[in-house]
Amino acid sequence: MPGLSEPELGAVFAALADPTRRQVVRSLAREHAVTASGLAGELPMTRQAVAKHLSALERAGLVAPRREGRETRYRLTPEPLEEAIAWMADVGARWDRSLERLSERARRA
């Protein structure tokens, strides 16, 4: 698949396997750019916990930090998500084709 390598794609999946991180991603999707404290204010977790999740998401390339004066704002960079969706579409399409051939074969026998 184009863009991300297989291990990078694995990193995206691993980062999103955690339900709390998915919650962080949802919050980021609603707001353009937020600080860790801002996120902690709306999610049931401490600022430190949010910072930890943000750095895991950053390693997977799903969020990007930007310094603005004294604070760091995070925004969603959804390209890796699109790659993950593409993986599912690709794998799903291959099974669709295979199972269609299997059904045909089963009917013939």
Binding site: P7, A11, F13, L16, R59, W95, R101, L102, R105, R107
Partner: protein, 119 residues
């Protein structure tokens, strides 16, 4: 982990369905163009398609006539095939899901982080 799940009801008895999903000759008629699969624990899986895509892996689990589990691919994914008798024949369910990556230090760090983080 993202999962792909598909199912189909085959108009055949479970015995015939098992043959269709484990006999390499049958598998080459639907799964891929070139298939080697030893339906036993630890058995090798080698699959190639005409479009150049190829996967290699290993059989992890076999429940004769009912279920076979294998992993394949460079960034491995686990494939689970199950058969269930239904009035119309045999239901075949396919599930494919990426396996937690264990390639390279960055991935390992991320994987351990994922399991250590409270939900």
């Amino acid at each position: 982990m993202p999962t792909v799940r598909r199912e189909v009801v085959l108009p055949v008895e479970p015995e015939r369905a098992w043959e269709l999903i484990t006999d390499p000759y049958e598998l080459e008629g639907w799964l891929a163009d070139d298939v080697e699969l030893a339906p036993e624990e630890g058995g090798e899986v080698r699959v190639a398609w005409e479009d150049g895509e190829r996967r290699e892996g290993v059989v992890e689990e076999v429940d004769e006539g009912r279920r076979i589990v294998f992993t394949w691919g460079e960034q491995p994914s686990r494939v689970i095939w199950t058969l269930d008798p239904v009035p119309e024949g045999t239901r075949f369910v396919v599930t494919e899901r990426t396996v937690a990556p264990v390639v390279g230090p960055r991935m390992a760090a991320l994987a351990s982080r994922a399991s250590l983080c409270p939900a």
